[in-house]
Subunit: 239 residues, 2 copies
DNA sequence: AAGTGGTCTAGACCACTTT
DNA sequence: AAGTGGTCTAGACCACTTC
């Protein structure tokens, strides 16, 4: 009976992941050098490299020659547009301005609970906001977050925070988003949406439902967005 | 004056790419073994591996332990859904049925010429088709292809061909699509589109403009699709 | 048994950054 | 000069496929 064990570098990768998940190495900070990790795990530098390479390919680590290997973070210019695919038809991408409409605690409806892996009726934080580009309201977002993780997230804290929301989640709630899936369709604007986005009732919109995951493929955010594509489009790369 | 040369494995990668581009190694066929390439290029096996790893990550090569390394091809179950992101809301993805509406030679309009890197008025092949899933018309596609490359592509050949269009391009026109960009927005169905997709005039649709590239980042296809998202959605992974 | 890709090692040296 | 990641080598052995 052959006992199949995973390759060493996979095991090392798992060990590194545990340190990231437990936030022993925090976003923005360096992890130990390759030589040190090799000594710690009693393997060669090459094996550690292969594990780090895999995590680098997954955007969890960032290598900087001469400086070290760092835990990726959502505070950083390069990370700002990683999850934001809506870009202007002309000109360069710019940062969105946020207007928080509402933040409240709600019991998870069944579809939200399903998406977040919670029990129906579990505590969640719900928030709505409008994102504008160059003053033009463009995205209407609704977010649901597990209450146990995001307890204490209030309107005041959101408004006070400068920078990307995933940065706030990282720093204030120790929740690092590492992956997301999106389901996109076309819909028509209803009355309430039309008013908020300053468009006509019935105008076509992109509906984008995103589920974001942290370590261990654990879903920690459900986001439903309506995108006005009059002057922007959703940019995607197929490889 | 320091002469900066690229790493050896990058140079090897470029050499391998040249063989792929020139179709010396054809889609579906094996390339020489790592040992043989190492001997040919006078480098170690590890250096060849690193070059092949990079091309594998770009979906240009496929490794099969014990068998060899093969040139990727669009004829293959696993490649069918690589560029097709529209999936049913329920159930498993199925193959689309094609109905070719029109194939003709046209002079490239300026926007098409720009996208394909041609002169305005250059010869192109234009084709329209409807794709259906389980008998339900879902996608209305318009394609422009450079006439110099796709000369001889006729309605008859398209209809006669079984399998994915990119497979046909590969086999019959020696043009291997390796990458694409998509720009997506929401629009309303006009009268003609509504009739073809059997939906109401004004119904919301996803507009997907795709530019596909072959080796050397050369654009070789412009595709404008209108997707009905009543029972399907566009699936995307953010990493 | 022979050939392929996959893993792992030990060591050398290079390129970059900081001290 | 010292420390970091990046490249390259040579060799060993493993896992899988084919003959």
């Amino acid at each position: 009976m052959p006992l199949t064990i995973s390759p060493l570098y996979q095991q090392i990768k798992t060990l590194l992941l545990e340190n990231l998940k437990a936030a022993i190495w925090k976003p923005g900070e360096p992890i130990p050098s390759e030589m040190e990790l090799a000594a710690r795990f009693r393997v060669s530098q090459g094996t550690v490299r292969k594990a780090i390479d895999a995590l680098t390919a997954e955007n969890l680590l960032i290598r900087r020659q001469g400086k070290g290997t760092f835990v990726a973070t959502h505070h950083e210019a390069r990370a700002q547009f990683r999850f934001l695919r809506l870009v202007p038809d002309q000109g360069v991408p710019h940062y969105p301005e946020n207007r928080i409409l509402e933040v409240k605690s709600v019991k998870a409806p069944s579809d939200v609970a399903l998406a977040l892996g919670l029990r129906s009726g579990a505590a969640t934080i719900f928030l709505r906001r409008v994102q504008s580009f160059a003053g033009v309201p463009t995205i209407l977002d609704e977010l649901w977050l597990p209450g146990t993780i995001f307890k204490g997230l209030t309107y005041e804290r959101l408004v006070a925070y400068k920078g990307p929301m995933y940065g706030l989640f990282e720093t204030e709630f120790s929740t690092h988003m590492i992956r997301a899936t999106e389901k996109i369709r076309a819909v028509c604007a209803d009355r309430a949406t039309a008013e908020l986005l300053e468009i006509k009732v019935g105008a076509p919109l992109m509906s984008v439902e995103r589920i974001s995951f942290t370590f261990g493929d654990k879903p920690v955010e459900l986001r439903r967005g309506l995108y006005s594509t009059d002057a922007h489009h959703y940019q995607n790369e197929l490889t």
